[in-house]
Amino acid sequence: MNFNSIEFLIFLPVVVTAYWLLPFKARWVLLLAASLFFYMSWNVWLIILIGITTVTAYVAAIAVSRTDNVKLRKAWLIATLVICLGILIFFKYINFLLESAVGVIRLFNAGQADIVLDIILPVGISFYTFQTLSYVIDVYRGDYPAERHFGYFALYVTYFPQLVAGPIEKPGTLLPQLRTEQKLNSDDLLEGGKWLISGFFRKCVVADFCGIFVNKVYADLGSANALAVFAASALFLFQIYNDFAGYSEIALGSARLMGVKLTHNFEKPLTSASFTEFFRRWHITLNQWFTQYVYIPLGGSRCGKWRRVLNTMIVFALCGLWHGANWTFVLWGLAAGVFVSIESLIRRPVRAFCNEKGIDLQSPGVRFIRQIAVFMLFVPCCILFRAQNVAEIGVAFTRLFTAWGFGGEYFAAAFQSLGMDGGRLIMLAASLAGMVLVYRLPRGDSSPSLPLSGGYARVNYNCTAAVFIYGALAVAFCWLALLAGSDVSGFAYFQF
């Protein structure tokens, strides 16, 4: 049951209505049942895997909290890591590991046959595994008390709005909210509705529409010129951003309708003026997870310069691998790590130089130039993320660096590769303009800091109502148009 499906549009109102009608003590049962139903709608048997992870973490956390014996606590933690990560590695990475091993063996024995296990990739396994691990590690560190109520803990792991693609919530942010009796109030419903409109707009209008052009170019990279490859990669950045941010916003909106505030996963990453800033704003909960549970334990930035670079590269390589069992993702992670490392190495000399010359790095003009530079450098990295294999990366970069030209014919060829015509160009421009503006919708930017009165209150009320009407119409029209052309796609991050 994808978020952008008719089933979910029926499922969500039913669950939300039942949630508010039920007494507080029965709500967790409803939410747990709904979450399990939601997850089992992909594959009934996947419940066994999430069940093993949940029970393991629940038992281990209680065991850790009951003893002061350091060795025993560590043993429980290691056992949990082995079981949970073992499940993740087996189901997500085993074929990748086998394929890589076969590749190495073929260097010595060309006749080595492929070894592929027939395993399905459980939806959202990376998300709920990381969320569960954050709980056990927090309990081990004494940052959070072990949850005694199995029902609430199971709900924390399986909570349907964020189960299959995050945000990855720390126990301290989600569990207390699930345990608190939420009161029905109009602010939550309004904010939830805004998040939903924004999320569906991002996914059903912007991401899916950008995806049409991206898929067209990447289906025939060999005949695309440099401009087409660059444009497709830039559009892929918009696609993946809106796809995932859209999912996160639908998750935020769905939870908010039930009074629960999930963590924001994106904070305008495309306006970042540095790579460090970009990854601080992109998939925030995952990057915080890696920072807290990998980067800092490795020594973080409180060690020598080169050790810090090494730590950064390790974290980004793992982050890339987390995204998918493919060398393309590892390469993407390493490329991002190189940019972040270079930034950290040149930060001081650049600041000193700018101070000397009187250049303000945060002034609007300089910041705009930095934003453009980050965007232009990040777009080629997107090739690594989008390509199906290393060979495709080679083709894409070859075209990007060699197939340059200028003039009417060249631009026409690029447009043809993208499948762009006048109507679609207008549609794309409208989508991207909408993408820029929906930033304002649910983040509090649209909620003035002081209560409005008089005419402003009326404008606020009217425009909010109009946003719901036109947002719903825009999503419905575009979704149906894409559906008619079989261009509707699932959420890209589900595969992660």
Partner: protein, 81 residues
């Protein structure tokens, strides 16, 4: 592909009227009735456009434009002092 909306004066007038009502409602800070009237005109025009052979994408673009206008008009600052 030729645009059905841009080539039909009736549809253009309908959308322009809806947009004008919407903008007047925002500028004059009127009650909800003007916004509602604008939305009704918009929906009516869109239905007529679809029945006249306009594509869903075209109707979608019109809805996105109206959405953008209304988001842009949402008050941001400290409000009415």
């Amino acid at each position: 592909m030729e645009s059905v909306i841009l080539s039909s004066p009736v549809l253009l007038c309908g959308y322009m009227a809806a947009l004008a009502l919407c903008v007047v409602g925002i500028v004059k800070k009127t009650g909800f009735w003007l916004t509602a009237l604008s939305a009704i005109v918009f929906v009516g025009t869109s239905i007529y456009a679809l029945l006249s052979g306009a594509s869903l994408e075209e109707a979608g673009i019109a809805a996105i434009i109206f959405l953008c206008v209304n988001i842009a008009a949402l008050p941001r600052g400290r409000g009415d002092k």
